[in-house]
């Protein structure tokens, strides 16, 4: 059964303001790249739907949803804006935000529907992955948490046990804490240590509470972690998690902000990791989750040099296509290269001309291994 791809230009409207680093232009760029390379056809693409209010309330509180609706018409007082996290530079109110956010959640739920109605076993829907949204508060560029809503929708409506895999450089706090006491949704997040980086949670000791104890896994890696160490600890810990949990389906958030050229984090991954991560998740889905996999987007703030090539790998992995090498399609280059203020990559793989060797590599590798050891101990 062929994988499907959820996309429409309507989804580009999730935009806080012109200077905000969260820029969904990257969705269009990724889609254009895949199409011009011949990897994505119109017949693979399905449009989003709009999530209903009831669906959003599967995770979010009634008063928060009301607040977002009113914020979209600039009707909230300053105190209300503060209470709901809508007055910050991260998640400021914007016009019709409820409608635009519902469309984004709807894209993710459309993807779930396609899988559960048997139209595809694997779906890519890169508009979503807004993993920082809390049940009653916007946070970290995220208003409604489509990833959490998808997990709860799968659980309630389809009785699925979901393995949530989050490889964004930031801890998937909103999803984790939504299901912190739940044993049917297992959350796995690998991220840069929160010592300095937002949101600061995601300690290895965060393992869930009550019924959900043991169903949250956190792997904080050291700043400047490179491909080899990252892939080693990621693969071993994830495989063990999947083996123990035996999920019905996988939902993944594929932030690509752990790349060394991402401006917001301090990790040092290259295109090598972004070729391997989704291919490994694909294997895990085949081996442990009946081949069912919903892949979402997430962070990624270098939209010119990093995001399109890295996100394209998610779709390619799903289709069992080997990572392409060499020159990017001319059509894509001629459209976007002139628009880029940064040096625009011309090949699928990173050229690494500006990659700096990390002097502390042995220490970082060792620290990451210690964290891995602890996770494996917990998973025993």
């Amino acid at each position: 059964m062929k994988p499907l791809y959820v996309y429409s230009e309507e989804l580009l409207k999730y935009r806080f303001n012109d200077t905000h680093p969260f820029n969904q232009m990257r969705l269009k760029m990724t889609t254009d790249l895949l199409k011009s390379a011949g990897f994505l056809n119109d017949s693979d693409i399905v449009g989003p739907r709009v999530a209903t209010e009831d669906e959003i309330k599967l995770v979010h509180t009634e008063d928060f949803v009301e607040a977002v609706k009113r914020a979209g018409h600039f009707e909230l007082s300053e105190e209300e804006l503060i209470n709901f996290g809508l007055n910050t530079e991260d998640t400021p109110q914007f016009e019709n935000m409820h409608e635009k956010c519902s469309m984004l959640v709807g894209a993710t739920l459309r993807a779930v529907d396609l899988i559960m109605n048997g139209r595809a076993k694997k779906v890519t829907s890169l508009a979503g992955g807004l993993h920082h949204g809390f049940t009653g508060k916007a946070s970290g560029f995220c208003v409604y948490n489509d990833a959490a809503i998808a997990c709860e929708y799968l659980r309630q409506k389809f009785n699925q046990r979901v393995l949530y895999i989050d490889t964004d450089a930031h801890h998937g706090d909103g999803v984790q804490f939504t299901f912190y006491d739940n044993k049917d949704i297992m959350t796995y997040s690998i991220h840069e240590t929160g010592r300095y980086l937002f949101p600061g949670t995601g300690l290895v000791t965060e393992r869930g509470v009550d019924n959900g104890f043991g169903f949250s896994v956190n792997l904080p890696v050291d700043a400047f972690t490179e491909d080899d160490s990252y892939l080693e600890v990621f693969k071993e810990s994830l495989e063990r998690t999947a083996e123990i949990f035996q999920p019905d389906i996988i939902v993944s958030v594929n932030g690509v902000d752990a790349h060394y050229r991402d401006p917001m984090t301090h990790l040092s991954l290259t295109s090598k990791s972004y070729e391997e991560i989704p291919r490994f998740v694909n294997d895990i889905a085949d081996k442990y989750a009946h081949g069912k996999w919903l892949a979402l987007g997430g962070g990624g703030y270098n939209i010119w040099q990093v995001v399109p090539r890295s996100w394209a790998q998610v779709w390619l992995a799903m289709n069992n296509i080997e990572a392409p090498k060499g020159r990017l399609p001319e059509e894509f280059l001629s459209e976007y290269k002139p628009l880029s203020k940064l040096e625009f990559p011309e090949n699928w793989e990173d050229d690494l001309s500006d990659y700096m060797e990390i002097p502390r590599r042995p220490e970082i590798t060792e620290k990451n291994q210690l964290v891995l050891d602890r996770i494996l101990m917990y998973l025993e």
């Binding site: 680093p21 503060i82 007055n87 910050t88 530079e89 991260d90 920082h132 946070s139 970290g140 560029f141 930031h170 706090d173 010592r195 300095y196 980086l197 937002f198 949101p199 600061g200 949670t201 700043a223 400047f224 401006p263 917001m264 301090h266 703030y301 700096m356």
Partner: protein, 211 residues
């Protein structure tokens, strides 16, 4: 921060005539390590810890197998207990914990037991003060300790519409008269704030400087 905000109410207690066995059962059942011993008026007359019990029982390495656990707690409990009141400061109580190596302190009102503060509660207070549970990015600033520093930092935050989640200040041990200000800010992208602070002459400690 008041003791009232961190203490545990509904404390499990025993009488001095209860047995060691009952204390062991209670500790296991509630996963606790300290039991205040009270009289009929709930006056604290002693405290039994898991350590007191371990010291009273024969070692698993000894040959003695005939263990009796029906001794009164009176025989093993600590007397002369340091206690506190709900309106004392956690900051001050922390000094007691530190100085006297305490595990737990009963909280009394009109000389009657109303709560208990343990080392774990003190650590929880520390975690709360440092803002660990709220999302945010962390910035460290090295400052010469002169008047108006917090004002200047706060002013910058206001200009950038960025909320401070927590602020802690401690001595910079390597530089006399310098302090380290640790800010947790409610922003996913701290770069704007860092740039603004650097522009104003602040020494933002970059932990990830590549050298």
């Amino acid at each position: 921060m008041l003791v009232k905000t961190v203490m545990t109410e509904n404390v499990k207690t025993l009488k001095e005539t209860d047995t060691i066995e009952s204390a062991i059962t209670m500790m296991n059942a509630y996963n606790i390590r300290h039991i205040p011993i009270v009289d009929d008026e709930r006056h604290v007359v002693g405290l039994v810890t898991d350590k007191d019990i371990n010291l009273a029982l024969p070692s698993i390495l000894s040959k003695e197998t005939n263990v009796t656990m029906d001794h009164d707690l009176k025989e093993i409990m600590k007397k002369n207990i340091i206690s506190t009141s709900e309106y004392d400061f956690v900051e001050e109580l922390a000094v007691d914990f530190h100085q006297f190596d305490l595990g737990a302190v009963p909280v009394v009102k009109n000389r009657k037991l109303i709560g208990i503060v343990t080392q774990t509660d003190i650590m929880s207070a520390f975690i709360e003060i440092t803002g660990m549970k709220h999302p945010g990015s962390i910035i460290e600033i090295d400052v010469f300790d002169k008047p108006g520093i917090v004002h200047d930092i706060g002013h910058t935050m206001k200009e950038l519409n960025t909320r401070i989640v927590s602020i802690t200040i401690y001595d910079n041990r390597e530089k006399p008269n310098h302090k380290v200000v640790v800010l947790k800010i409610n922003a996913m992208n701290p770069q704007r704030v860092i740039e603004a602070l650097v522009d104003k002459g602040f020494d933002v400690v970059n932990p990830y400087r590549m050298e």
